[in-house]
């Protein structure tokens, strides 16, 4: 059994089922008058078909077994999870805190989890947030989020 393809195929199958249900709700129409759900229905149906083939292949793969531990063979995924969570938090706080403060906090965190010394992390975070602010806000006039403090 190939667990990678089994999981991947199952995720695609679930996604396709959702798309097909949505297509039905939108209205598929007819061939001479296709409606908004026509293409989602067609694409969802094809994804269902291909994901079914992939799942079947994965279940029948006897000579090349792939286990979940082969996929997660490193411990580095915890760091990836930390980065992803910190980016999600950044997306939440960047509007109320403003670009400079939120970016400073994010960069300091990312540098610290990469084992940079704390003072170097703070200096680096300040440098990165201020320099990108200068490049994008001042030079390129990108309206970066201001936050409550106005910067």
């Amino acid at each position: 059994m190939d667990i990678r393809n089994l999981i991947g195929g199952s995720v695609c199958f679930a996604l396709a089922a959702f798309v097909v249900l949505q297509a039905q709700a939108m209205g598929i129409g007819t061939l001479y008058n296709p409606q908004a759900g026509f293409m989602p229905g067609l694409v969802g149906g094809l994804i269902l078909l291909f994901s079914f083939i992939l799942i079947t292949q994965a279940l029948r793969a006897r000579n090349r077994r792939v286990r979940l531990s082969d996929v997660w063979d490193t411990t580095g995924w915890k760091k990836c999870l930390l980065v992803a969570v910190s980016l999600a938090l950044y997306a939440i706080v960047v509007s109320p805190l403003g670009y400079l403060a939120a970016t400073f906090l994010l960069m300091a965190f990312l540098l610290l989890i990469n084992r940079i010394r704390w003072w170097a992390a703070l200096v680096g975070a300040a440098g990165l947030s201020v320099s990108t602010w200068g490049l994008f806000y001042v030079l390129l006039k990108t309206p970066l989020p201001h936050g409550a403090w106005g910067f």
Partner: protein, 495 residues
């Protein structure tokens, strides 16, 4: 305007001081990105796109095209010197390039890579220059059925030329189409899969999607590994290939150029695929195939020529039909649209300044890259010494600003993060991201042309068979679908 007059007109555009500066900046940034492992041209173009928002469209596209070409040149440096490909199109160069470096021939390997790239890139551009106008004229006669059949053939090529499983590539391309359907229906303006969220009414933008899949996902995967860069201590000398090296690699450059030229035009082909095929062909035709993998100069010349020829010719379908053949050009199409330019058959007539300016600037870019690349190699080696702990947070920051700047929306940061995590998981589960992005970009074109065709024919599929070009494209689809099935059947019979 014919091809010769067009080129002179384009040169006048490209030689404007601002465009020349942007071209040089794009080439240098592209080379830097090609040199640095972990981020390829797709991520780079997406991340750096906000830098172009204040620029005129011609300057913006010249800058982005410079990044693409620069990345193709720069990737070989890391492949040869540290055995780590800077981007996917340089993977094959590692095999013989690094072996040459170990033997003290790093200069020759770098030299033949640069000169092979220059020759092939220039030949590709001549093809682009000569084919663009006739193809644009022909494309003006296409209707929805032709466009639908050509895009469908493109999808079939993408799946057929997939680097791993065809089933998985097909799935990813279809998922890309499904994601592209989010937003308002293009004909009835009905909401589709928006969950009532106002940010989804206009659909998902290609830039945060590409930054997530190719920028953030790469960083996340690289964060897992700790691979201290070991740079080979080599003396970079004799970078101008001698008579012996030229004689050894002349046919490899020629074959690589031809392979790259044609694969660049095909959807799903592009620079990466062409390098693998060029290397395979070279090994097969060689009188000494045993030398491949041990430092054969042909093993560097062929793939490096192929990827640059493909990079040049991949602009042909984008600029003449408006159809991007590979994922980098798909992101570049997004950049065109953001700047209010729709690539396609009318582009050469409606925007000659941009069309010919881009073509001419790519010629100039090739020259700039040769002139800059060789003397700057010591600098690129120093760049490789930037520790990952500093580099990755910097890339993440540019990903964030790049995603935000497209529509000045925090929502796009969320989209980037979602596709970044999805891209990371896809890498873990061995699913390719490129078909997804191509499906995402081609999906809306496919839908609109299919529905228009059906409306035209009152629901009859005969419209795709009655029109010769559409029928021809569908026959190609059928052949491409049948080939692997026939091969499988024959293999089963033999065993």
């Amino acid at each position: 305007m014919d091809a010769i007059n067009g080129l002179f007109y384009g040169l006048a555009v490209a030689f404007e001081a601002q465009h020349l500066l942007l071209l040089a900046a794009g080439c240098i940034l592209g080379t830097l990105i090609g040199v640095l492992p972990g981020i390829g041209p797709v991520g780079a173009i997406s991340i750096l796109l906000p830098l172009t928002f204040q620029l005129p469209p011609a300057g913006a596209i010249i800058f982005l095209a410079g990044i693409y070409n620069g990345a193709m040149y720069g990737g070989s440096t890391t492949s040869i010197l540290i055995n780590v490909p800077g981007e996917a199109a340089s993977v094959v160069t590692c095999l013989d390039g690094h072996q040459m470096a170990k033997k003290g021939q790093a200069g020759q390997a770098l030299g033949i890579a640069v000169f092979g790239s220059f020759i092939a890139g220039t030949v590709g551009l001549v093809g682009l220059q000569l084919l663009a106008v006739p193809l644009s004229t022909l494309a003006l006669k296409f209707g929805p059925p032709e466009y639908f059949a050509i895009i469908l053939a493109g999808f079939t090529f993408i799946v057929y030329l997939a680097q791993r499983s065809m089933i998985k590539a097909a799935l990813m391309a279809l998922v890309g189409v499904a994601v592209s359907l989010v937003g308002l229906d293009p004909i009835t303006a009905q909401q589709r899969m928006t969950f009532g969220n106002i940010h989804l009414f206009e659909g998902i933008s290609v830039v945060p999607l590409a930054i997530g899949l190719f920028g953030l996902a790469e960083v996340l995967v690289n964060l897992e590994k700790t691979h201290p860069v070991k740079i080979l201590r080599v003396k970079i000398r004799d970078m101008f290939p001698g008579k012996k090296q030229w004689l050894q690699s002349r046919y490899a450059i020629l074959r690589g150029t031809l392979i790259g030229f044609f694969l660049g035009i095909l959807p799903g082909g592009g620079p990466v695929m062409s390098t693998f095929i060029a290397y395979g062909v070279e090994k097969r035709v060689s009188k000494n195939p045993g030398t491949f993998g041990c430092g054969a100069i042909e093993g560097v010349a062929a793939p490096e020529s192929a990827n640059n020829a493909a990079a040049s010719t991949s602009f042909i379908p984008l600029l003449t039909l408006g159809i991007p053949p590979n994922v980098v050009l798909a992101v570049l199409l997004g950049a065109f649209l953001i700047h209010g330019i729709t690539p396609g058959p009318l582009m050469v007539v409606e925007h000659p300044q941009i069309f010919w300016g881009v073509v001419a600037s790519m010629y100039l870019g090739n020259v700039i890259l040769v002139v800059l690349n060789l003397p700057l190699i010591p600098l690129w080696i120093q760049v490789l010494r930037i520790p990952d702990q500093l580099l990755y947070p910097m890339i993440i920051l540019f990903c964030l600003v790049g995603a935000y700047s497209v529509s000045n929306s925090v929502f796009d940061i969320g989209v980037m993060l979602l596709f970044g995590v999805a891209g990371y998981l896809m890498k873990k589960f061995d699913f390719e991201a490129a078909p997804l992005v191509l499906g995402f970009v081609l999906g809306p074109m496919l839908e609109v042309n299919l529905r228009r065709s059906l409306l035209m024919s009152q629901g009859s599929f005969s419209i795709f068979v009655d029109r010769p070009l559409a029928a021809g494209a569908l026959v190609i689809c059928l052949i491409l679908i049948a080939l692997p099935l026939v091969r499988r059947l024959l293999r089963t019979r033999q065993s």
